[in-house]
Amino acid sequence: MQILNWFFGINHNDSARNTAKDRMQKMLVYDRLELPAGRLEVLEEELLAVVSRYFELDADTTHFDLQQTERKAALVANFRLLRAKC
């Protein structure tokens, strides 16, 4: 089966190779910033609290992530806004 998958170019996302790459990329963002575990979650909560004072949010689609390009990290926060609070 594995050979068939490989033969037809099916991408196994749960492969050891992809898992390793994914884990590495996440780990190194923290390493490079010297960011302690859990710190980001605290920030996320605080940011959510601030934005929630101004907007009603769709909590399910809120997305919060650290991304990396060329060894530089970017904080990407995506809040789905439902309506402004007055």
Binding site: A20, Q25, R71
Partner: protein, 270 residues
């Protein structure tokens, strides 16, 4: 003469720093340039064994630094390659026997005598590593496609990046790649490692049992023909000299169906 001082480093131990240093040194010397191999792993001397020169070590790097002998007396000339010399580490001392300033002036002296000075760094990021990079203006980072080795390589890159003024350029060598495992998606590929580390590639060396045999014989693989790892190291030496040499094609994970059939029928073993 104003030679290039290149430090070979990795962070993690056991990824092939010393093997790479020996092989790159031999391959460079085979291209005709003069090369000094410097073993900076003070207390854990190994480069002399890989070079098959362990019986000819009289003085060592610490003797030179502490002025018990002249630099020329400590250099062990390789009989097979007269333009290649080894400056052995001391076996009975530790990393504190040399400091960064002493290393800088030693490298300065070596630069005047050799076109290439290859410094084999100890594992770790402490004083031994700091001293090893002290006199260098270029670095080769060795990693394997394993998570722990890549993480340590990343740490090293961070430290080299912080010393941009001295280390003008650094490049990566991915060692011990197993194309069959990459093809089966069991292991990270060279491209995966480059994506993760965002660093320039100097070369790729396949996993090769010949390395063990050559170490036992004291004859680095890059000095002999017919080994894939030896060819990989010779290519690295040519690239260091500014030549453009294509990478060894070790796997074709996303080729077209013809390629797939071809790789399937002719598995690349290394």
């Amino acid at each position: 003469m104003n030679g290039r001082v290149i430090v070979v480093t990795s962070g993690k131990g056991g990824v092939g720093k010393t093997t790479a240093s020996a092989n790159i040194g031999v391959a460079l010397a085979n291209t005709g340039v003069s090369v000094a191999l410097v073993d900076m792993d003070i207390g854990l001397r190994n480069l002399d064994i890989l070079m098959g020169l362990e019986n000819r070590v009289v003085y060592n790097l610490v003797d030179v630094v502490e002025e018990r002998c002249k630099l020329r007396q400590a250099l062990v000339r390789d009989k097979r390659l007269p333009n290649l010399s080894l400056l052995p580490a001391a076996q009975t001392r530790d990393k504190t026997a040399v400091n960064a300033e002493q290393m800088k002036s030693l490298c300065q002296e070596l630069k005047n005598l050799f076109e290439f000075v290859i410094v084999d760094s100890p594992a770790g990021i402490e004083s031994g590593f700091q001293n090893a990079i002290a006199g260098a203006s270029e670095a080769i980072i060795i990693t394997t496609p394993e998570m722990s080795a890549v993480r340590d390589a990343d740490r090293i890159i961070g430290l080299l990046e912080a010393r941009k003024d001295e280390i003008e350029q650094y490049k990566l060598v991915v060692n011990r790649i197993r194309p069959a495992m990459v093809r089966n998606a069991d292991m990270m590929s060279v491209d995966d490692v480059l994506d993760i580390l965002s660093v320039k590639l100097l070369g790729v060396v396949p996993e090769d049992e010949e390395i063990i045999i050559s170490t036992n014989k004291g004859e680095p693989v890059s000095g002999t023909d017919n080994t894939r790892s030896g060819l990989a190291f010779r290519n690295i030496a040519r690239r260091l000299r500014g030549e453009e040499v294509p990478l060894l094609d070790l796997d074709i994970p996303n080729g077209n169906w013809l390629n797939r059939i071809f790789t399937f029928l002719n598995p690349v073993k290394v």
